[in-house]
Symmetry: C4
Subunit: 250 residues, 4 copies
């Protein structure tokens, strides 16, 4: 294991990895600063060259993560760290989605507040505006009771649970988890950060709109078109979020 890990040091693409880890650290701070995560929640990024590996922080609050806290984890959920530090109990959310979805390179798991109501009621989260077309025509809900029964602690703390979550996610961009939170996936850190933030925004807008009337959601075609449009504008909010997060965190 140590040999595998040290390969990171001598790997010719060290600069690329350093840049990726720097973005992962910034993403951790952005997600805290924009209110998507609090003391809990996590973001990962697929290793750019080693198969079945991804980067994720050790078990700690995202808002405090630095580059020294990033660990390498494999798709069986085994952490490869010379210091034997531990990552999150729920790293199986990441490992199994990376395994099931080759198109996904970055994953956010959060408990953001406005999304929770759509996991515990019969109301479905749907795209209400052009910023959140990535939600598509339906957002699947993961009910852990179907796999773990009615006495679990709701955590995705095993490969089995991770696989069942990945199965519910299917080809979607976001899945809600009943009584827990949500997971968002993307092809890049910037895209998944955008999606995690605007999933929360959409949920907040939808909550308010539903209270005053029947909502005219995006058509499926509008969702598709706006999602594609958003992808070419990812740098714009990232630049803002990054500056704000870094200036807030010293």
């Amino acid at each position: 294991m140590i040999a595998d890990f040290e390969s990171l040091e001598i790997y010719p693409m060290t600069h690329e990895i350093d840049a990726l880890i720097e973005d992962l650290v910034i993403a951790n701070k952005i997600l805290y600063n924009e209110g998507v995560v609090d003391g809990f929640g996590h973001i990962s990024v697929r290793h750019p060259s080693l198969e079945n590996r991804f980067f994720i922080a050790k078990s700690m609050a995202p808002g405090l993560v630095t580059a020294q806290d990033i660990l390498e984890c494999d798709f069986d959920g085994v952490v490869h760290d010379p210091q034997n530090r531990k990552s999150y109990v729920e790293r199986f959310i990441h490992s199994e989605i990376f395994r099931a979805r080759p198109d996904v390179n970055s994953i956010v798991h959060s408990h953001s507040a406005s999304v929770i109501p759509f996991g515990v009621t019969s109301q479905r989260l749907r795209p209400i505006c052009h910023m959140s077309g990535f939600l598509g025509s339906q957002t699947p809900i993961y009910e852990i009771r179907h796999t773990a029964g009615e006495t679990s602690d709701l955590l995705i703390n095993s490969q089995k649970l991770g696989k069942s979550l990945a199965n519910i996610l299917g080809s979607a961009t976001v899945a809600l988890m009943r009584g827990h939170g949500s997971v968002a996936v993307g092809t890049s850190i910037k895209q998944v950060v955008y999606r995690a933030i605007y999933t929360e925004v959409n949920a907040k807008l939808q909550l308010e709109s539903m209270k005053i009337g029947t909502v005219d959601f995006l058509t499926d075609a509008e969702a598709l078109a706006t999602s594609a449009m958003a992808d070419v504008h990812l740098d714009r909010p990232w630049a803002l979020w990054k500056e704000k997060a870094l200036s807030s965190h010293g």
Copy 2:
């Protein structure tokens, strides 16, 4: 084109333009700091002397805009910039409203949160207090499907769409855009910033009020009188917003 642009450098009213651009930059920061825009949204101001021209930032988050980022655009949506930088895809919101409304000198487009519900439900945004009389007796709603069909990305990215939006706006001060946001217009930067901020405030107040009962809105005459009253008090909040925005942005 370059010749046209350089006329800006030698124009005798350089000082006036510099002051206008400074206010435009401050307005960008205010709109971010007061929560009207996030990473997206934009504000423009009509050129004080050149016909069919206006100033607007290059394509970037409003909260990060500096004087060096302001571009000159014409009413066909063509940007005149020696560095060939690009402005927003939706600059046609501005160009076509400036063309249709000679009384308008400044325009804000935003996705401010409390306004969205009034664009996607059958509830109409109406003036609920003396700060927002400018909303008048009705706030028109722009449905892009009437012009672009049901598969668009909802952006006002052409002259045709800009014209249709300007047509719906008519002589109003604010128009909502279904599933997208809103546009506010004014005779000056200070007025339109005031209107953009209090459109959001009014929407928030109206959402809360509607949840507990039937709302007693301003009469049309009260809306008219309070709108005129607000116009003589624009400097007061501007001074506050400016100080707060500048101290927040370093």
Copy 3:
């Protein structure tokens, strides 16, 4: 008039007045920092020795007020200022309440957000917890249409309107103003700041509670007892609010 004003300079109680004005300035900043006022709203304090006089800022945003901005105004709404600066158009709120209520020494007028819904619907603002017993068994609502008709700009910009507002306030501590805001009165700056802040808090709590069920409000006797109790604890939140406001405003 100038003679009267200059008496302030030579008055033996200069130190008391300086301290009072310092507290008035701090109160302005607190009300902004705690979200009770934005660019608009005002607070006044009765002159400690000159009859029919009170202190209030010149026409400006409360959050920016300094000791140099405090003016002296009489009960006819005439400002006595050697520099001929102007105070708020609505200074008659203060002058007429001070005239009608000898027990009142400080007054806040604001547009705080959660209070507005209770002025434009049939729901009455009532004390929901022990912090806001001062609201008593009923909070009167001022309908300016009864005095100014249906075409006014809603401002209390004359003695006549000020008197009609003072009449509706009667012996209460807070009166709501339809489509406008509220006014709170107290025997001291600390008390009225407390009341203005907890009027907003109570309104917010009541809005949320009403959405999920029938509310069990304080009994009249509980309102009375908690109001007396709160009066002996005014220094505690004031110390906090002061430190926060001063550290926010540099």
Copy 4:
């Protein structure tokens, strides 16, 4: 009394006590910074060696508390302080719960906003997500009228009232107080701070969820399992809250 108090100075476990008081000070700041307390509310911790004693701040806003402000109080509500400073009128909340619950080592009393609606309506606060399983299957509500009648000031200002509150709390982790606030208990400062914060979070999530549909709460077994799970993760949010609170308070 003074002799008892001075024993604190010569006690061999001085370092342990210093560390406990330091955590108590940090907890005060965290509770303010995370919005659980405002100018009012308090947190206590049981004395690690002296029976029938606990530490709590003198009567002041939690956000301003320093180590010098911590007093020692006994289970009869008597403060043992050489400077004869006073603690909170409601210290009986703490003294009587410590007396009745040997398993409890730290207590928070607050008026956090989202919890209030569940004390004044017929809706019960229940665990809606895995972060708040400690709420268990029911959250008891204390109605002070049953003990103090309908004319009280709602404060727990006597041993009698403290005992009646402790009685209603029973073996629960959180009790609501009608028209007042709530009390949370824990085996440690970190646990009770976590519980106070996530009681507010749960209340906010439940308010929003109830507005859009029928809520699928945690099963009792899920509540139990998630509560145990949360207890092994207390350091993670504490590290974040501590850094944020200390950097906010200078």
